[in-house]
Symmetry: C2
Subunit: 394 residues, 2 copies
């Protein structure tokens, strides 16, 4: 009989896989995934970039290339991080990955042995939880509130837990809550981290999608000891189907990520790297991000307005300043997994909240995405969910 | 101080990374990597395929897609495995990966806990050794000869070793030796495997590159118990820069690979999958493989002839019927790592043999690749190596 590795016991099918299957059904109004709006994909511009790459350096695009990534792309990524996040870095401190999901997988593999502790915001991104599970860690959840991770709670845990090997955070428009850490918390966080010298994975897929108020400094921009590993991605600012992300880290830590990358898949595809690089040379990515931001802001407004008008007062939800998600909390007696099936009967989908807590519980919450549905569907879908919630109230 | 996971201790920089850097120097005659001949890349056809994809289904190509891979591509892969390897399978038993290197990484993660035993041919592919190391296994090497893995030795090991969790083999034009298992060994191997019920990773990147003699049946085609995991790739029959490979396995095993894939990078890029699929619809991949085969056969002939004419009789080497590599064995007192530096002075590169033995030793061997250098460079490079060998003889 075939015997599997013990890690497989922890890796039952994740909600993401099931949900991507649901989303594929065209008749569903889906607030479930984190899909970008496909109507904004710069398809024709990418085709032009591909033509130019194949014309100018087709043989290079088709050949193996270095594990670290295509140098010109890494330069552009480093420049973008300076411009957008005020992070002092350069191409030598960038590793191109197959989406930032790969950066999450590598993070656990670089830092975490079986049984080691990973700290995460409670709740946090379910794809990160799944990736980390493959290293068989112990998860400890750090409580959060409107302003992000609660620093007093973080300090308490660090003061009493010896084997914390990494802290995973999403300070900007968090997945799933849509919340953003305050400036004060960011400074306090770095103070604590510097004291304990624990590596931090700062996942920042949505940072450029701010609709209002001021940018907050990335943790990496406040990092004086080289403890912060910054994960970025083109999935939300360009297209996800190219699977291009990056890791930015200090020398020694990045070299560890490179070792893992070499064994994991040798390198990210040459062709997609060259095409994304060429796209940025030929076209204005900033202008494209403006267009995305504008549409998502509008859709957030439509969703928020409809929720305010139709959701019962027992349903609390966040008002994100950017990103893709809002987070809904219902009375504790409502099970949003059961409610999800009632919603699916009305052809509306969300992600039940329990999946975002590595240690389970919190089945009274759910996550809603507003980036990929047109106005009328948002209104229709939110109204349908509102009806289902009301029917579940005692 | 940052503490890394214990697995990082095993993952010092691999030869592959260093070598890819050497190869990048344009003045080196490199027999080191396993690079396909770039002059044969169907660059213009791939450009046309890209145009067609962007024209017909650009938004799909740019969006997230399923973890398993693009259905039409998986169907074509399954059909190809039937046609080329006589393997009865279908799209449901294919997972598209980021090159077959990713299949190697996943194999260890699916089957191997720390300390578990992996059996490999002695020698074997160094990229597999590196990938497996991340799971902290114990490697046991099974002796090989001209006919492939020695079955009596395999039986001995299996009869006395309790925790063998997987066997990794390359039966066709093995990397690094270029050798192919005999038919008899294949049947005997399956008999032994069926008795012990150990999962087998059959890595087959070069199977289609046979220059002469008859095709041997893939182990997977002889697999009656669903124990063989077949790894395939487009890297050697189309282009490596797209990083497209696949895993073919029975239901339960493939579902385990899917769980790992989901956490590792969600999915292989949609765009490259659609383009490779479109290429196969628009053009004749078989005809393209014929062209590759013809050129590599010619280059093998040039290399073999020059080696026969110039290498001293103390140097023994394999005569591969296909694939990309020949394997050279020198007298035991010669250290091919030191000799590699002497060769680099003459601007010629190979891979020292020690890297292909997971437990070390065998520094008197080296691997040479003949697929990516033109005739005159092959002659010049082989002659230079012959001179260096002679200078090292006692």
């Amino acid at each position: 009989m075939v015997r599997y590795a013990k890690r497989m016991e922890q890796l039952t099918n994740s909600d993401i896989g099931d949900l991507l299957k649901l989303i594929a059904r065209p008749d569903i109004i889906s607030f479930a995934g984190g899909l970008p709006a496909a109507e904004l994909f710069p398809v024709d511009q990418l085709r032009q970039a591909c033509d130019a790459v194949m014309e100018e350096m087709g043989k290079v695009a088709c050949q193996y290339s270095s594990t670290e990534g295509f140098p010109a792309l890494r330069e552009k990524i480093a420049e973008r991080m300076k411009a957008k996040n005020n992070i002092e870095t350069d191409a030598d401190h960038i590793l191109v990955t197959s989406g930032s999901q790969q950066g999450l997988d590598f993070s656990a593999r670089v830092f975490v042995d079986k049984g080691d502790v990973i700290l995460m915001e409670s709740p946090s991104y379910l794809g990160a939880i799944n990736a980390f599970k493959a290293c068989e860690p112990t998860f400890m959840e750090v409580p959060t509130d409107e302003g992000g991770m609660v620093m007093e709670e973080l300090e308490k845990i660090l003061a009493t837990t010896p084997n914390v090997k990494m802290i995973y955070v999403i300070p900007d428009f968090q997945n799933p809550t849509g919340r953003t850490w305050t400036l004060e918390r960011r400074h306090k966080f770095m103070e604590i981290i510097n004291k304990y010298e624990i590596p931090v994975i700062e996942d920042n897929p949505y940072g450029e999608l701010r609709f209002e108020n001021e940018n907050m400094p990335a943790l990496k921009s406040l990092d004086t000891k080289g403890l912060v590993v910054f994960l970025g991605t083109f999935s939300k600012i360009l297209v996800p189907g190219y699977r291009l992300g990056w890791v930015c880290a200090s020398d020694e830590i990045l070299s560890m990520f490179n070792f893992i990358k070499q064994g994991a898949d040798l390198q990210t595809p040459t062709v997609t790297q060259l095409e994304a690089n060429k796209y940025m040379e030929m076209f204005d990515l900033d202008k494209h991000v403006d267009t995305i931001r504008e549409l998502y802001k509008h859709r957030r407004d439509v969703m928020m307005k409809t929720m305010e008008e139709t959701f019962p007062k027992e349903a609390k939800f966040t008002h994100p300043d950017g990103g893709l998600f809002t987070w809904v909390e219902l009375p504790e007696y409502i099970d949003t997994r059961k409610m999800a099936l009632q919603c699916l009967e009305k052809k509306v989908a969300y992600v039940p909240g329990g999946s975002f807590f590595p240690n389970g519980g919190h089945e009274n919450c759910f996550r809603m995405n507003y980036s990929c549905m047109p106005d009328d569907k948002i209104v229709e879908g939110v109204k349908a969910i509102a009806e289902v919630i009301k029917a579940n109230l005692k």
